[in-house]
Amino acid sequence: MQLLAYLGRRLLFVAPQLVGILLVSFFLLKLIPGDPAVMMLGPFATDDGLARLRAELGLDRSLLEQFLIYLGNVLQGDLGTSWQTTLPVTTDLAQRFPATLELVTLALLLALAIGVPLGVAGARYKKGLLRTTADYYGLFAGALPDFWFGLVLIFLFYTTWALVPAPLGRLDFVILPPPEITGSLLIDSTLAGNWQALRNAAGHLVLPVLTLGLINAGPILKMTQSTMERMLESDFSRYAEMCGLPERVVARKALRNALPSVVTIVSVLYGFLIGGAVLVEIVFSWGGAGQYAVGGVLNADLNPVMGFVLYSAILSLVIYLIVDLIYFAIDPRTR
């Protein structure tokens, strides 16, 4: 009940915030020079034709009017059409968001698998190799430009050793993709029993997931380590130690208490990476959502960008909600 009331209150704040986000992005993007009508009609456009197209696109109305029309359409689930792909933005995003989500999710899982154990170890030992690794890993990972790191991996694993498929998209050109169910190639090809596609998709995922995973393990590690340290120094841990509980048990209890902050950092990273993975998407020709949005910004293609901003805002909100639910589950104080 408490939970429902909380969710209700949250949603009450969400709507105006979404409108605010749309408003800002709309006006910001409208400031970008470039006339889609000219780009669409090309070199032999007549003034008459341009005027007609602008009217068709509603570009001859006032900005406010244009925004209200846009908002009205959004409420009906219509995000407009991209003039570059000539497809509805919802269709384009439905195709590209899963690509990004699959990449980001796997990368974060990898980051967790590296960051949490290393962070715990770093907090438990005051000296030694593990501690030093933990101390410097975070700093160094945070210093690596992901787009460059991706290139290095490509150079080593593709160009030099030829261990992975060409870094060009999610699946080899000749592989028939599985029928789309979830949008994740790994899951879909498993469901379809298409092992060739599964192997191939996994091969394509290796490098970009490594790139993002290794880099984003840094902040997770840091957060785990510092929270764990605090927890281990806190009264309850001291008390447990004094009571003679084995160190492992104390550490497990401390970790349990440190989990909320780990969950928080993961959610923040998730929200960030939806748009922030764009450079890695570019390097690997991934065809994800971020790439789509950046292409839109640079080609005066407004609708894809708006759609992307809206999707990622909603997605971030959903993630934060899920995080809150996880809090309810792991932190007794919130109950």
């Binding site: 986000i21 800002v24 992005s25 910001l28 410097y136 945070g142 640079l298 992307f308």
Partner: protein, 324 residues
Amino acid sequence: MAEAPAKGDGAPPGSSATAGGSGGIAFFLALLRARPAYALGYVIVATVVVLAVLAPWVAPYNPVQASPVDFLKPPGWPHVMGTDATGMDIFSRVIYAPRIDLAIALAGTLISAVVGSALGAAAGYYEAQRGIGTFAAGFVMRAADVLQAFPVFVFAIAVVAVLGQSLQSVVIAVAFVNTPIYLRLMRGQVLSIRRMRYVEAAYIAGVSDFGIIRRHVIPNAMAPVLAQLSVNIGWAILLTAALSFIGAGVEAPTPEWGSMIAMGFQSIITGHWWPSIFPGLALAVTVFGFALIGSSVEVLADPARRRALAGELEARRRARLATA
């Protein structure tokens, strides 16, 4: 460093100046001795800065001088890092690059720190009051929410696209993206300081709002802002390079790490790795240096950690004396 000048009525808590007994340069040097990695950070950054400043004398070639007969020469002599597709010397460009990257990152971060802190201080201070102030503070915070809800990168590109491609645009984009961080940080600080008794006292004594903010609130909230600043610069360098990588940064052929990586990006598949690997390495090492400095500042700015460190240093000194 983070010596909060704690003058004024009452003893402001959270001031780091009191921690650990020893202060100033001596403490700093002792810290560097105790943590060589921090020293490494300062060495890296100093080297990069010195090379950049002395670049006109150190660089073997003009960084924007194409030499089409020498295109795509692999690393060797006289081009230690090879040449790019137009025959420009990569080593010279790599050491010139921080002139742009660091300048943009510093300017952008400083602007965001100043603007963000000022807005945050005002928002935090007025939030507790009634009337128009609260409303304005609320508005600023909601605006920051909206700004932060944006995917950072898409937003930065959009800013550059609106303003046109130039150095200033990149600075503004970096500043825009970072401002909410300082805004929140400062607001949080101010909210906690605002409740302190000495501030209340000043308020009752009739000191003006501005006076209170200036004399009590800002000095005491500065330490975490400084710490954040040093961490942030590294990140701003990455953002600058990323913008250039995507083509929304500085104009070619300005020597800049991100755009150098971008120029060499296509040829990595055909095996020409040097045009993009070297600038990326320089970028990573530099940001790593800043990260090390950042964590040393974090230690210095955090009274508890500072105290612990001072204790540790003291113990070491004693141990050394004892063995001597």
